[in-house]
Symmetry: C2
Subunit: 336 residues, 2 copies
Amino acid sequence: MFDNLPKRVKVVEVGPRDGLQNEPNQVPTADKLRLIEALFDSGLPYVEVTSFVSPKWIPQLSDAGEVAEGLRSIRRNSATCLTPSFTRSTTTSCLVPNLKGYERFKTSGIDELALFMSATESHSKKNINKTIDQAFQALQEVIDAAKPDGFRIRCYVSVVFECPYEGKTEREQVLRVTERLAGMGVDEISLGDTIGAATPKDVYDIVDHVAKHVDKKHLALHFHDTRGTALANVLAGLEAGVTIFDASIGGMGGCPYAPGAAGNLATEDLVYMLHGMGIETGINLEKLVDAGAIAQEIVGHTLPGRYLKAALSTRQKTEDKAVQSCSETSAKHNCA
Amino acid sequence: MFDNLPKRVKVVEVGPRDGLQNEPNQVPTADKLRLIEALFDSGLPYVEVTSFVSPKWIPQLSDAGEVAEGLRSIRRNSATCLTPSFTRSTTTSCLVPNLKGYERFKTSGIDELALFMSATESHSKKNINKTIDQAFQALQEVIDAAKPDGFRIRCYVSVVFECPYEGKTEREQVLRVTERLAGMGVDEISLGDTIGAATPKDVYDIVDHVAKHVDKKHLALHFHDTRGTALANVLAGLEAGVTIFDASIGGMGGCPYAPGAAGNLATEDLVYMLHGMGIETGINLEKLVDAGAIAQEIVGHTLPGRYLKAALSTRQKTEDKAVQSCSETSAKHNCA
């Protein structure tokens, strides 16, 4: 074991989109931008910043245009001064559901676009009211527009391991969908455990099977920690040869159309494990915790990420000690 | 990967001891017994039920004698009727810190005893105010008494991966302590990640190193989920050939002497992953969730286990639907 681990892994941060879209209250645009800047600042190589879906579907992301405008302004500012340079090293992306969304994306200044697809007919119908074939037609329209414009394209595949409506997903079905996406020119395909039901052997088996027909360099894995297995599944994915993993700051988000789903894999937990195993990410874990603290602040509640909790509790203790020692000193010296 | 997975794993439940000893309030004895019965009923092969430590140290477990008496009564009752048979298939154990504790244990009717030891001098001093050598002398006294009485002995080794006072633990030091315990006739040695800092490669490396001198069948692993890595670490342990894993119902507990430590690995998360990988445990996961619900009820707050949360939320939704459908029916039929 661990003889073939990659030297470096690409962590794809989906919090500002996949996380915030599942928050009951809409977070103000300025707060979103503050979070995204903190994520850039941590050294994350890739951040999905928003979604050009209809505000009717997801009102939480109805300010996608304003977020994009804010990011352009941040980039303009950073281009004219020496620091911060991070905004040039982080790739941004956003979700695009259809041609209408693509038109908004095209001039947004966001670097890449992300599409989505379901691995089962029932999930596709419930999620976007389209059969898989109809969904593929809609994707084809967007790809036909985006490719000549020179954009790199990512696509999420939902319910790859288990579907809340159909049970265990057939791996042949996952292969069919993934192969078709690769054939359409999609550059990165993120296989998602939407309801967090996968265990490590499932992960290894699916990747092994799909990789017979699709080059592993195009594959990413997207885990939910609903049953605590997300990091164990990452380990199986690493062993199977995948080097791109999605995660969400603090573990924000999940799919609202999947009953019982809760909690994306937390970015800090993922990065802690990868670094602990000697795998580089280019990310500063302390700065990621700063971003996690901002995420908790702007959504107004505790997030489920384990590392974040431990790190913030340690910081709090250190601060308490400092305050205590300060007041002890004050008492001894009779300061005011 | 996964070519050498064990067919069966022994899950050691430590919740009633390691979990409850860290609860701020003492849980009434009757509630403890209700939890332990539910744990037996789930098919768990091994439950650590209490600790014969001084009530001054751990007041939460000051009713150890009453718990043992209650268990004897449960066993007497189960011996005289056809069901439940579970109480005969679950091995019980309890923590014994010294000879005085052993005298109380000996006549308690509890099947096995568990000792503890630290892998670092600083943790040993902080935890029990003894050097490692002094701690070994105390253990030797208990072992000298217990072995002739025919008892099987388990021993926990704390801070095997990282010590809150010394940083990364030297693996030679872990080997020395483990080898000495094995040489003293300890039957099962549980290597503990007391502050939840280990990542999978650490686990594989330590087991691999220790197993050069101590037979793997004597080794157990005890993980904390402080940074989310517990199940990934189990996976590495399985790959390294370990077949005994400790866990705590709902993820109760942690070591109060280790700053920042929080959350044992949750038993339900462990069992879900093992079953998902086709590894037998003899445990009924649904009944384990019942026990988890009791655990939450008697401690009076939500526990951190992921699977428990998902399972109870699904049950709640099903109940809500049933109630709704019932009231819909009532409305249609104009029932009272």
